[in-house]
Structure formats: structure tokens, C-alpha cells
Symmetry: D2
């Protein structure tokens, strides 16, 4: 456990923010040389099927141990709580313009079934109490969200080799998000790639490579470890909020993980990963024959739970300020039976 | 801060479970002598309006300080995480029989917009990815949930004296649940009243009095403090699960807080309170002329955030087992703008 | 066209209501001797695939000609309009008890997005108009409804031989209900089988045979013709309304068409058929190895549009009263793109 | 009844299309001189409150008599059925750009609960039938629709003087759309104002005055009578379809009724009126201090049922072609209990 000691690395002064690793070429994502064959090779290489038994339904969330949780709780030093959620409402990222085919998601529809105006009008008094009530209609992945392990198939299989037909119109019979209900907690680590690269917002098409992840760890003085929840800040949500437009965000071009990072993430044995983009990986994708190839490996083959549309701006500012990039991370999914995703209010507690 | 030291009180051996305080009469709730005048008097006495300024929208959640959060994190000793949520699905508590008027709530409707069977059929391959997606339709208070401060009005006012017309069909313009997004974390304390009273499940109509709360604290060796989240176990959810029937649960008769506990809770200055009943307070209510009188005071007058339909059985067993009734409690509401409640997956972390 | 002359047959006095055809045994449905092989044979025999071309998407609705519509309009003699719809609300037939597996339907959820109480409270006045608005959430087949031709598959095919995979999570790419938008109109004929059999309500398991249909035509002095919309009254909806309970109705046992009637309906070349039961055919079904065998033939093989949960009581009374069992029938489905069913307010105009 | 004889007026050759009445100024709507005082005066003058008794809930629909329906049925001469509905889907008019505040409506969300791909995958075979099923979520006024009499309030009252508080979050306790279930049928008359004015599409802000209505009647050789359903064609829906954009349509500027037409419509004693615009009346409105002033009078004061987003293009072409502007009109609302509007598939039958 010695290696897990969490002495805060106060790197604020010495951090060489804005200097990308030597020779780094941000245009590489546009080469798009990846082929379906590469994807299949990676599927084989990074598969965790069977690693936690044939009946496992939570994948890499298994990496986090009780000891990790005890250690993560010790990272709470100033009692500051930062929510990583966008509010759920009609100002959310769905429904804006996109050059890509629509994903069919929409912003949350919040409806009242009893109101304070009903109360004022006296029409509730027959109940003997002036109570209000409400309803939500929302795609589970319309805002800040977890992708569950039933969200992406690799050919005819889902996580752990389950038949893809386990996800019917009646929901996911295997690996539903409800299986994670006591698991979304552990040490959180922020890699603020935008800041490390000297950007406020990384541009669309910017591929975050293994080299960049290593570099960011180094300049921020933090090490990603087994069982961690890794948060990667690109500035994408904040760029949209600043521009007062979500056009192009949801389903569109974005900075994000290069395909090769499936190796890095696999090797690090993290529990989960999340970013402030809509889809984690770089877009345009590095290939023309496969859509979101990183997803093909990360979710069904590795069993990695992926968070998207996390709002990391305030956390990034706080980490830059105190130089501490690790914290207690608690982000419990709603245990919706058979769901392939969940809205979430993730908390970073420092 | 000395008084907040959290030395685990190992009371397992000495706890006199099953012995109610001398002279206690469980039938008292049935006397129903409370009048509207008493309710109005309590409203005045226990009002926290203005206590945190005219613009406050979170009420007693203000009691929890950063220091409290740091201290609460230190309660994580074994790395055990217990979810207090029921899964959200068609087996939930809504829609069962009730002798009371319907509340208009229904169990969550979970719908798929793309499936693994679509994937298997090949119809998704034009997208270049076999991804599934889903939607939820749910009353925000249909399962494990927080009541927001916009949920109950006292006459023409809501929390902090805001006009009740701030909650229109467009939602709560004041004190929406989204205002709590960084607040639902602190020291959790379980008072297992059922166990203290020698019951597996408290019967309907059982009124939990101030005396019983004091007694339970004493026998369990735990003290409820300023800024805490208090969880009270009655066994009600577990009774329904054991009986395989939710008949009479939602909106019906229940064990729960006696009206007088508004004084106890006010004095203790807790941040929030939650139970495993649908509506926190004893039912039949202690009055015939007011429906849910405890709610009239607790929410709009005190500004107390209330959790309902928490599933406390596993936590109660764990606390009985190790004799430790305090823990880190993290239960972030979904920040749905203008909502008067929120589903939640509350975690007790020991 | 002479044979289509619509002289009103005033049979009121002479109608021998209550006398079933000689030797008729209502218990026959319980023999349940039908096999999958019989169903397959019928599929072949009564198939209309290709009858209206390879691209047809409306099936037997093609039978109704413009001349039929002109003739049907002439049946309007007294200007009486009878709605055959149940109101859509929480008092509908879904959610009651059933010994059969749930169909996953629920009663309509009607929600307001602006109210008269909002208006009264003054909160709408900033809009310069006091307008209300509302939303519905409903299964398309939860109440009075049309089954579209995409609703039932025969093995891997739907109507006209289309691949069943044309109905994905994105809806029906073929034979969606919107294709019928100008078609649900023609001559309506009521066969009041309940009355002809001497019943107010036919009992569950009562199989309406070809013989009974012929007999009912005869005693009511009406002939079912090519292009007609046939309505069959069993009394089932009215039985539930009278008993003030929908228990057992939706998805449960019922009077209804014997399997053999696919021949009768095929021969008659009707445009559409509707009943006051939830599922048109007799239940328990006449077979144990196939669920709803009549549906297997009627919808995907014959291309017959089927109406269910029609409320035929008032129409039946009116027809018994004036002895006229034919009328103008107008029952336009909502053209919901890709839908496999539609709610409808069917009108019989006499 | 002589005056109601329906001899088809074959005016095709003589119709002076494209010549607006002498001195007509389309810019008049922009003067915006109407005041709240004028609106109040009109409310008093054109009120039908009490005309059909204190308990009436359907207003001008009372004007249509059984004799009118018999006569209307006689207008069916060629058996041609024209649907006036837009399909309900994601291509509908909601969600496009608008310079006005959002109305909170969205296009229909159609979801499958069982699919043909489920069928193909074999997962439905445990049910013994390969059936599909679906659900709709839709604002009742998001597409082709009827405004019910609970949709607009005049100050604190709705139709017939009912208190506006009759429309709560639980729906309309008075004048719900379900009260019209047997009423939406009669003689339909199309006034093709666009064609009469020589336009394919009337421009936004074009006010249709009493004079223009008289003129259109005259040039088209058709007379609007008591109990009729009047359809007014402006070309607005078709303009959007032609431009492949709904931008500005829903809630935006439009051609439509001048305020003064409340007098014309009142005098004519029509049963209902519908247009192909989103909101019937000219916009920008003729006043700056009242939003949609025509609605203030037509719905709550006159009790006039109003149809919107009717797709009148095909009907207009057919009427221009045969010179017959009258027909049987059948447009039954879905009887959704307590609804203030309803989607509808209106049929013109010629």
C-alpha cells in the first residue's frame, strides 16, 4: 500500500503548463489510418472477458478495493465539494445543430403534476396539504452521464462475452447500470490536458495520446493508479458555455482520446474514466470505416465504465489553484433496472 | 470541534435492544388531538426563515460546514459502501392498492431507443457502431428520493417565505433541487428505531417521539449533531419486500415521526433527514384536520430536506453488527432545474 | 353495384334475438386442439401477400373503393353520431389484475404545462395571454385503438412479406400506421353477436364461429360486403364498466373470434374489423402452443387492420332500436410515422 | 332548409383569383392600433356565455344540427378522402428557430416497447407471439390539432364563464376536449384566401379581414353557413415544407385572421374554424399590449373550437380543380379526459 500514499504534490509553481511534449502533432487524428483490422486486434489484446468470472457484470469497477476507498476518503482535506454535473434542463446540450446524424437524444422534459399556483388557487386544499410534485422525461445519456456496460456491442457480444440480444426493448438483462449501485466511489484523479497543453479549450480533432497522458501526469505531479476514476479535462463543455451555443457538441467533432489510449487505460487498470466531451474519444475519428472505435474496445471488451458531459471546469480551476489533482470521487448512478446509462451528479470532494 | 470527535462507540454488547422507554404508548398517534392551531404555533416557533439571509434556497443544508465534511470522511474505516436506493423499475412501490386518494405517481417507465436486438439484426450497422440507448419517464418522487424545499407550501408561502407562486407549471423558480447540488454530503447517523423498540418492522401508526429518538441515541451509543444527515430505520420498506406487496405503502398508513419531533429536529440543527417510509411521518396523522402536519413545518418553515423510501435494511444490519451508527453519507440529488424532488442513490460509506 | 344498395332492413320486430344456431356449443374454444401446423396452413391459404403489389403497405384497406365511400355516405339518414371510443384517462383498462404476463401498457398520462391556476396566479401575464397547454404519454394501444400492419409478425416476416427487421427501435419503416391516413372510412356494419346469442355480455372463452357470424347477419338483416368495416359487439367493455373493474380484461380471457373466422373474413374481403375486446380473438386461445393464433394470420398474412377496445354498447343499442346495422364509419388513425398502432376516436354516423 | 341546399357551385372558369378587394392594404396589421380596451369591448359584444345553458362545455359546436350532418354527408360525390394532417414525427414544426419566447412544445417522441428486431432475435418467442408495441410522448398541440375550450382564459374565466381555476395541473375539469367526442363532424368549407389573393403563400403579417373573407366566398362561389367547419388556406404549412424549414413557424409571425374577424365568425355562427398556420390569427398581432387578441375572444368568449397546423394544400388544389369548396368534414378529437387540445387526423371527404 506504500505506493498508494497520497501526499499532496504541490506542483503549482513548477508546472510547465502549455508546453506540449516535444514533437507532438495535434493533426495526427486527421490522418485516419486506423482500420477495422486494428480495432479487432485491439479487441483481442485488451479484452477483460472472464477476468472477474463468467458472471461478472461490472467490469473494471472491480479494480477498486475497500482499501482504495478508505485511502480515497483520506484525500478530503478542506471539505470542498465540487459538482461535476450540468443542470438537467432545456438549456442542455441536446437538440443543437450537427453535421452528423442525430443520436435521438433530447434535453430533459420536466413537468409538474401539482404546483404552487394550484396551491395559491386553493384547489389543493381538499387534500389537506399544499404539496407539489413533478415528473421527468429524459434520455439517460442526454446530459452528465455514465455509459453502462450494455451501451456498446462488439459485433454480436456485449461486456464479458454476453450475447448482444441480452439488451432487448425490455432493457439490459445483463450488465444493467443498476449493478454498479455501490461501486461509483474511489480516488478521483484529474488530468487537465487542456491546461497542460496550454489551451483553455482543446480544439476539435485534438487527439489525446498516451504520450500526452504521461506528460500531463508528470507536469501535474499526480499518478493514475489501479482502481482510480480518471477525469480528463479538455474544456469542451466550457467552450460551449462560453460561446453560448451547443452547436456541434452532441455527437459532433471533439477533442478526445486517441484510439491508442485503450492500451494506456488497460495498463493503468483504472475503474472508470470520464471527460467533458460528449463521447470521450477524438472526433473526427482516426478511421473512416468504424464509428467511435475507442468505444468498441473500452466498453464491451475492457468493461470500462465511461462518463461523458462531465463539467470539469471548476474542478480544473481548483486543482490548478491548490496543485492537488486527486480527491475523493463519488458519482453514484441511479440504479435504473436494465438501463444502459444513467444521469449522475458526480462529486469531487477535496 | 472537540465535541465532534468521532471515536466509534462500540455499543454492540451493551445495547438493550427491544426495550422501549418506560411508559411508552405506541397507540398515542391514534389519539389525533393535534389541531390546526398547534400546527400554526409550531410554524412560528420552528421557522428558520431569514436565518441564512433573504435569498437562501437550501435551508438546513447550510448547517453542514467544510469541517464537518472533513470529519465525516474520517468515518470511512473499512471501505464498505452501502447503497440506500431501491432499484428504479416496475417493481417499485407505486400503483399498489391504497385506501387513501392516489398521489398520481407511477413506477419508472424505462424505454429503449436502440437495442442489442437491433444490433443483432444488423440494422444499426449503417451507423458504424452497435450502440444502445434509453429513456426514462418517472415521477421524481416515485422511489428513493429527496423532497426538495419547493415540495410543500405553508399556506401561501414556501421555504424562506417565498411566494408559493414561485412554483408554477414551469417548475420551481425558487429553491429548486438543483440548488443542493454540492450539498448532500456529510456525517450520516442511523437511528435504528425499529431495532431499539425490539421490532423487525414498526407497525403502521407507530409514532416515533422525541423520547424514542433520545432513547435510540442512547442505546446505540451515537449522538446526532449539528449538520448531520439523520437516517431513521422503521423497517417499512423491508416489510413490503418481505410480504412481496407494496399494498398500502405509498401514500398509506405508516410508522413515522410524531409531530412533536419537529422540535427535536429543529434543536438538533441537522442538515437533512431520511426514512424508509414513503412520507417520513406517522400515519394515520395525529390530527384529522391537517394532512401530513409534520411536513407543513419541516419543509417550508424549517427548510429541512427530507428523504423518503430509503432502503435502510442492509445499513441497519451492518450497524447492528459493528455497533457503529455513523458514517460518511453522500446522496447527491440530480440537479434538475426547478424540480421539487429528485431520485437519488444515497451511499453510506463506512 | 346493385347488390350494394343500402335499403335499411327494419328487422326489429322479427329478430329472433337470443337463439343461437342449433347445436352450437360455446365450450368449443376450450378444446384447444389447434396446432402450429394448422396455423401455418392457414397462413398459406389466407395470405394476401402481393395482392396489391410488392410495395403495398395497407393490405385489406385497399378493398374500399371511392364508390363504396359515396355509398356509405348515403347511409347517413338521421344525423346521429356515435363515438366508439373510451375516454383516454387513468380510468382506462390498463394496469388491472391479470393472470397473464403483463403487456407493458399503461393508462394515458396526461400532464399540463400551463394551467388555469397559473393564469389565476398571474404568472402567465408576462406572456400577454392566459393560455394553457398539455402533454400526453401513452402506449398507442392502451385504449380504443387500431393495430397497424407492423404490429404482428409471422415468423421473420410482416405484412406483404416485408422483413420483420423493418420494425426497429426507430419504428416501422414499412406499413406504419401513417400509411392509412386517408383510408379509415367506409361502410360500417355492426354484428351484435352478444344480442343475437341472447346475452348482454358474452362470457370469456366464448368463440364466435363462422356459423355465428352468418347467423347474426341473418337475424339482424344485414350483409357484410367487400370493403366494409365490420364491428363485432361482445359486450366485453360494457361488462367491465358495469362491474366497475377492468380486472382480467387487458391481455386476459375474453369472448372473441374463433380461429376459423380468418376464412370468413378473408372470403368477405372486408377492409377492417374491430371489437370491444382487448384482443379480438377468443381467449383462452384454441391452442396451447401458439399465443393469439388468429392474429398470426389476420394481420401479417391477410393484411387486415384490426380495431380493439372499441366501445360498442351505445351503437348496439341504437341499432337494436332502429333495426339498422349499417352506417358511415369514420375512424382516422393519427398518422404517427412508423407507429404500429394508433389511438382513435371512431365515429359511427347514422 | 332551402338555403342550405348544396348545389355544387362550379366557379372554376369565372373565378377571378389573384385580385384582392379594391383598396385592400396588406400592411394594415402592422399598424397595431388595437388596445386592451377594444379587446374587452369585443369580449362583451361577442360573448356566447349562457347561450346553450350554464352547463354547456362545447360552445359553438352546438350550432351543428343532425340535419346539417345529413346534408353534409350528401356532399360526398366522388368518394375522395383528403387527410388534412401532417404526420406526427420528428420532422414536425416544433423546435425550429423563433424570435418569440418558446411555447414549450416539442415534436412527438415515438418509442418502441417491442420490435421486429426483438422478434428476429428470438427473444419474444417465450411469449408465443411476435408482436410489437409502441408509445408516444407528445404535446397535444405540437402538430395538426384542435384547441379545446380550456386552452385560453379571458382574465379569470374560461368558456361559458367557468372559473379559470377549473384547469389545474390535473387537467380541465370543465370543457375538456373529451366533451367534443361526437361533435367534430359537419359541412366543411374551404376558403382559399391565398389563391383568392393571387398568392401561393400569404406573407407573414398578412391580415385576413372580413372584407377578404366575403370576397373569397364570392370568387369561390361558396357560402359559409351556420354550423359549418370553416377551413382557411394561407399556404403557411406548405411554404415551410417547400423551404424545408420550420424556422419561424411555430409561435412566430404568420398570415392570419385580423382581429375584426371575430365579428364575422360570430355572425356566421360556424361550429369550428381551422387554418394551416400555427395560431390562426395574424402575427405580428394588431396590438402591442395583448398577445394573440383574437384568441382572447374566439375561444373563451365565443366558445369557438379552433384548429391549427392543418395541412390544407392538397385540399386547396382539389377544390381549385373541381371548383367545389364544400365537403363532408370529419375530424374527431381524441377524447383525452381533461385535455385542452388534441391531435387530430381531419378528413375532408368530397
Amino acid at each position: 500500500m506504500a505506493s498508494k500514499k497520497s501526499a499532496p504534490a504541490k506542483k503549482k509553481a513548477t508546472q510547465a503548463a502549455g508546453k506540449p511534449p516535444k514533437g507532438y502533432d495535434t493533426r495526427q487524428a486527421k490522418n485516419r489510418k486506423l482500420t477495422r483490422k486494428d480495432v479487432k486486434k485491439a479487441a483481442k489484446r485488451y479484452s477483460n472477458w472472464g477476468r472477474w468470472g463468467k458472471k461478472d457484470e461490472i467490469g473494471t469497477l472491480n479494480f477498486t478495493t475497500p482499501e482504495d476507498i478508505v485511502a480515497a476518503a483520506k484525500l478530503v482535506r478542506k471539505g470542498k465539494v465540487i459538482s461535476l454535473a450540468l443542470n438537467y434542463d432545456q438549456q442542455g446540450p441536446q437538440g443543437a445543430k450537427s453535421k452528423y446524424p442525430a443520436l435521438g437524444r433530447f434535453n430533459p422534459i420536466h413537468l409538474m403534476t401539482r404546483t404552487g399556483t394550484d396551491a395559491y388557487s386553493g384547489v389543493l386544499d381538499k387534500r389537506g396539504i399544499r404539496g407539489t410534485d413533478d415528473i421527468i422525461i429524459m434520455p439517460l445519456q442526454c446530459g452528465t452521464q455514465w455509459d453502462g456496460l450494455g451501451h456498446i456491442m462488439f459485433e454480436d457480444n456485449m461486456w464479458n462475452g454476453y450475447d448482444c440480444r441480452e439488451v432487448t426493448s425490455a432493457g439490459a438483462q445483463k450488465a444493467g447500470i443498476e449493478k454498479t449501485k455501490e461501486k461509483m466511489i474511489g480516488r478521483g484523479v484529474l488530468l487537465d490536458v487542456a491546461r497542460a497543453m496550454g489551451h483553455e479549450f482543446l480544439p476539435d480533432g485534438f487527439a489525446i495520446t498516451n504520450e500526452i497522458l504521461d506528460y500531463t501526469e508528470k507536469v501535474q505531479g499526480v499518478e493514475v493508479r489501479r482502481g482510480d476514476f480518471l477525469l480528463v479535462h479538455t474544456g469542451h463543455v466550457q467552450r460551449c458555455l462560453t460561446n453560448q451555443s451547443w452547436d456541434g457538441y452532441s455527437g459532433g467533432d471533439a477533442p478526445g482520446f486517441a484510439f491508442e489510449t485503450v492500451e494506456w487505460l488497460h495498463k493503468k487498470e483504472i475503474a472508470g474514466v470520464a471527460t467533458d466531451t460528449w463521447g470521450a474519444e477524438v472526433r473526427p475519428n482516426e478511421t473512416e470505416d468504424t464509428n467511435q472505435p475507442w468505444h468498441w474496445i473500452a466498453i464491451p471488451m475492457m468493461g470500462l465504465t465511461v462518463g461523458e458531459i462531465f463539467h470539469l471546469n471548476e474542478l480544473a480551476a481548483d486543482c490548478a489553484d491548490d496543485g492537488i489533482y486527486e480527491f475523493l470521487f463519488v458519482a453514484p448512478a441511479l440504479p435504473i433496472t436494465g438501463a444502459v446509462g444513467s444521469p449522475v451528479n458526480p462529486l469531487a470532494i477535496k
